[in-house]
């Protein structure tokens, strides 16, 4: 990290998005994380994705728990409100924030300790409730901020820095999200920007709960030989079945993944999610088979990445609850207070 502040000037030819802003307008403050930390690459990907989508920066709300990953909301979208809450409880705070104003784009950032240990219960239930948000786990298989303890996503048999093996079964949040029925499930790698950025865009624009488990190596505590979440291991053991690209309404589809089936899903705003199947046998609309693929790969020590499952038509929490379109936080006395007449009728019913 550095203590030197970023200069305010930027390159004159820096690309400008549809609302006249550059990537710089979507950045946050300088990161205090270790040099080479995967989480910084994730923050950069989020920054780029939000700039590409041309959503005004203040229309995002960023929420996190506690941990190295949970520090990252400071490092992107500096003009958005952020909430660094308490350990493992980001889902409930995000739920409340989304209920209060359904029009904001909610990004929740968490870590494997935050979501797979203390936060496991809240994680499962926010998936159930289908809160409209993008939930990103920066998964490094360790507790970085408290200096290197095991996490629940560490693979059994992999070792920590001192060579001690993990004795317990791992928890896979992707499998859990699939099992509970999340309508957008993906896994990616902080080192694969080309894969990650479209997933973030698609996840943000998907109406419903979008989950991306990002393997994001910890250079300080879990990047050694014996780790299954190191840069080297992930690069050598990942496989992808579906390449996803997110295309704005007016854009041309330019990505070309070569032979293989391609599908387009049109989102409500006219943008398109293009799915390019790298494996013909894989069906990103089949939740159960996606789960089977992920589990099988895990048994073989492989990490499946890419968009694993999507249901573009699933309802979100607000639709399920049938709340009004107007954000609840902007309703006034006229909308909310039934008045003295109604109260007198209630009194009368109690006589």
């Amino acid at each position: 990290m550095t203590f030197v502040a970023k200069p305010k000037v930027h390159h004159p030819k820096l690309r400008v998005n549809e609302i006249g802003l550059t990537r710089r307008d979507y950045e946050g403050s300088v990161s205090t994380l270790c040099a080479g930390c995967g989480h910084d690459a994730v923050s950069a990907a989020i920054t780029q994705a939000c700039a590409d989508l041309a959503i005004p920066p203040h229309k995002f709300a960023k929420i996190s728990g506690i941990g190295c990953s949970s520090k990252t909301p400071s490092y992107f979208l500096g003009n958005s409100h952020g909430f660094n809450s308490v350990h493992g409880r980001m889902p409930s705070v995000s739920t409340g924030a989304n209920l209060a104003n359904r029009e904001l784009y909610c990004i929740g950032v968490s870590g494997d300790g935050d979501s797979a240990s203390i936060g496991l219960g809240q994680f499962a239930h926010i998936v159930r409730r289908r809160i409209n948000m993008l939930y990103i786990v920066d998964n490094n298989g360790t507790y970085g901020l408290t200096k290197g303890q095991f996490s629940a996503t560490s693979d059994k048999g992999s070792t920590n820095k001192r060579g001690l093996p993990i004795l317990y079964e791992p928890i896979d949040l992707v499998s859990m999200a699939l099992q509970i029925g999340a309508s957008f499930v993906a896994r990616s790698f902080s080192g694969d920007r080309q894969q990650l950025i479209p997933l973030i865009k698609a996840g943000l624009m998907h109406r419903g709960f979008s989950f991306i488990d990002v393997i994001s190596p910890c250079v300080k505590f879990n990047n050694h030989n014996g780790s299954t979440k190191s840069y080297e291991y992930v690069r050598g053991h990942s496989e992808s079945f579906v390449a996803a690209d997110y295309v704005m309404p007016h854009e041309e589809i330019t990505a070309d993944y070569g032979p293989g089936e391609r599908e387009e899903v049109t989102m409500p705003d006219g943008s398109r999610l293009c799915l390019h199947k790298l494996d013909d046998a894989y069906d990103p609309y089949d939740r159960i088979s996606a789960l089977a693929h992920v589990q099988t790969a895990q048994q073989q020590g492989e990490v499946v990445t890419g968009l694993l499952y999507v249901d573009p038509d699933a309802a979100d929490c607000h639709e399920i609850l049938e709340t009004v379109d107007t954000p609840l936080n902007s309703l006034t006395e006229t909308d909310l207070c039934p008045g003295s007449g109604a109260l007198e009728a209630i009194n009368q019913s109690m006589r």
């Binding site: 203040h58 409930s92 609840l328």
Partner: protein, 607 residues
């Protein structure tokens, strides 16, 4: 000697047998005759099959507190029959199902037995075993109408209203009532020397429980988000809010809801949802009991330090731990006042009546927004769950919500410097902004860590101290905004302090003490932090009693900590058995103090 409108009747039933609705009908009938009644239920932490007791106190003088001793026992549970007979006062009346006779071992020479062969009477009338069971309760209602001279058409009108639209239920119910009434008139001495008669005592008061009133108050007060987890005895508060919201908060055109209710997976999540909603500008609340407060404690600390509005209703029950889930107590006071690690304190409100539950619910939402902090409303099982007399609920249509210091986009354009935690007005409260307000101004980071006035992370001692001191200043501002204590009388040298449901038996206790030559001024605490009037009352009385329903005299502790008062200055009057404190308890303990200290009485007026 005949007495009117002055007795305690206890119904002893098996829970899950339909007795609750029959017994409520009894209380309601008397209420509709204008007679002041209070009800309380001893129900087990169970769904069906265990004993349950329903007490109705009838009091022309308007004494609503629990009274020791039972005058008329309706003993319908064989399992508890022996103890129910023993609970009767000398000269009392035992009403029971005599179909199987009475065990001579249980005969008491000093009570009158009223045997009605209820089961036998029902056999020829109803064939369905379920009906035969349910209508037992209705038969004794009919008998009681004759025994106590309850106006029979009040009962029949209630049945017709209750089962309106389900006519096939009305006739059998009325028929079962007539069976009981006819039997009583024919075979029993009717009416009894204890009886009722129409009264003006009720006036325009309503009969409602505190949780329903609180749910309505939250609705009228503008709450849009309710997140909760089921626990006895707070469940009915959240359910009341949801029920009335589904009636009164539906958009006319679209049929959509102007509120959101989430039954969370646990209390931690419930509180997190409330805080996330409050952070994002929606009025939000949760309802729970002691065990839930324990779970929510971490989040309460976050909301205190990060200064986020939230409202928590703690409907207290007997603790510690799982305690007695279906019994009342006032023992969460310290846990709520200082919830969470570090130097924290939270405003508390202490409603005593259903009307106050309604008013304080709405006030709590205003206070949370104004003070940018969690507000805890401390009710209890007695107040929350039992139907009792209350002044009607009122709402001023001109009232607007106090949303507190929130800057709009225009405000941000005009303001030179915005700092979330900057004390611009000198009251300790900064200005906040909501997410999504302005493209380039007003965004800041909310977190539970220390920060400077501009919400930037810092560990600087000076910045931390300044922030903590500002929170103390905010606390002083709170003291001027929360409901003041209700003080009555200032002529006596002795006074008694109390709060919440300890008010119920207080007038009766005071009247009896007066008969014994002891006069007390009273102060009912309604909120924390304490205002100057609280300390003035203590200062101006030589002898101070404090009556409360917990073992450790928690309110006395709170007063001594916050007011620098020597705790030995306050004499505790305590009851913590899980029932509602009675006038007897208060009277006896106060009297005992006078006797033990040989304190003079009749001359105890200030000169």
């Amino acid at each position: 000697m005949t007495s009117y409108n002055d007795f305690v009747i206890r119904f002893a039933n098996v829970n899950g047998s339909g007795s609750a609705s029959a017994n409520s009908m009894f209380a309601k009938a008397l209420f509709r005759m204008g007679i002041p009644v209070s009800t309380r239920n001893i129900f087990p932490s169970n769904i069906a099959g265990l004993p349950t007791w329903f007490d109705v106190r009838v009091s022309e003088r308007g004494y609503l507190g629990r009274r020791e001793g039972v005058d008329l026992m309706v003993a319908m549970n064989a399992e508890t029959f022996e103890e129910d007979v023993a609970a009767l006062r000398e000269g009392g009346y035992l009403l029971y199902d005599s179909s199987a006779g009475l065990n001579p071992r249980l005969y008491r020479g000093d009570v009158s037995e009223i045997g009605i062969p209820i089961a036998k009477l029902l056999l020829p009338e109803f064939q369905d075993p379920k009906q035969r069971q349910l209508f037992k309760n209705i038969v004794y209602l009919g008998a009681l109408s004759a025994l106590l001279e309850i106006e029979f058409d009040v009962f029949t009108n209630m049945v017709s209203a209750q089962y309106k639209g389900k006519d096939e239920l009305i006739q059998p119910n009325i028929h079962a009532m007539e069976i009981g009434r006819r039997y009583a008139r024919e075979y029993l001495e009717c009416p009894l020397p204890i009886r009722v008669r129409r009264s003006e005592g009720v006036g325009d008061r309503i009969m409602i429980d505190g949780n329903t009133a609180a749910g309505l108050g939250a609705l009228y007060g503008g709450a849009t988000v309710c997140a909760w987890y089921p626990i006895t005895p707070s469940t009915s508060m959240a359910e009341a809010f949801e029920k009335y919201a589904n009636q009164l908060r539906i958009d006319e055109e679209t049929g959509q809801r102007k509120f959101a209710v989430i039954q969370a997976e646990d209390e931690l999540s419930a509180m997190g949802i409330v805080i996330g909603a409050g952070w994002n500008g929606a009025r939000a609340f949760t309802a729970t009991s002691g065990p839930g407060v324990s779970l929510m404690t971490e989040f309460l600390g976050l909301a205190y330090f990060a200064e986020i509005p939230a409202v928590l209703f703690d409907i207290q029950r007997s603790g510690p731990s799982t305690g007695m889930p279906t019994r009342t107590q006032q023992s969460d006071l310290l846990a709520c006042a200082y919830a969470s690690h570090g130097d924290t304190k939270h405003p508390l409100l202490f409603p005593s009546t259903p009307k106050e539950c309604f008013d304080f619910a709405a006030d709590a939402l205003d206070l949370a927004d104004r003070l940018q902090t969690p507000i805890l409303v401390l009710s209890d099982l007695e107040l929350g769950m039992f139907d009792t007399l209350s002044e009607p609920l009122t709402w001023d249509d001109a009232r607007s919500y106090d949303r507190g210091k929130v800057l709009s986009a225009d405000d941000l354009d005009r303001v030179e410097t915005f700092g979330r935690y900057l004390d611009v007005d000198g009251d300790g409260i900064g200005y906040r902004t909501l997410p999504g307000t302005h493209p380039t101004k007003g965004a800041f980071f909310t977190r539970g860590t220390s920060r400077d006035e501009f919400a930037a992370y810092t560990e600087s001692p000076e910045a931390y101290i300044a922030n903590m001191d500002r929170l103390q200043l905010k606390w002083k501002t709170a003291a001027a905004l929360v409901p003041q204590a209700a003080v009555s009388g200032n002529d006596n040298k002795a006074g008694i302090i109390f709060y919440g449901t300890t008010e119920l038996p207080m007038q009766e206790a005071l009247d009896r003490l007066t008969e014994n030559g002891i006069r007390l001024d009273t102060m009912r605490l309604r909120a924390f932090p304490f205002g100057v009037e609280v300390y003035e009352f203590i200062e101006s009385h030589e002898l101070i009693f404090l009556a409360e329903q917990n073992r450790d005299a928690q309110m006395r502790t709170l007063l001594s900590i916050e007011g620098d008062i020597d705790p030995t200055r306050i004499i505790s009057v305590l009851y913590y058995g899980g029932l509602s404190i009675s006038a007897d308890t208060i009277h006896d303990q106060v009297l005992q103090h006078y006797e033990e200290t040989s304190r003079p009485r009749l001359t105890e007026v200030k000169s």
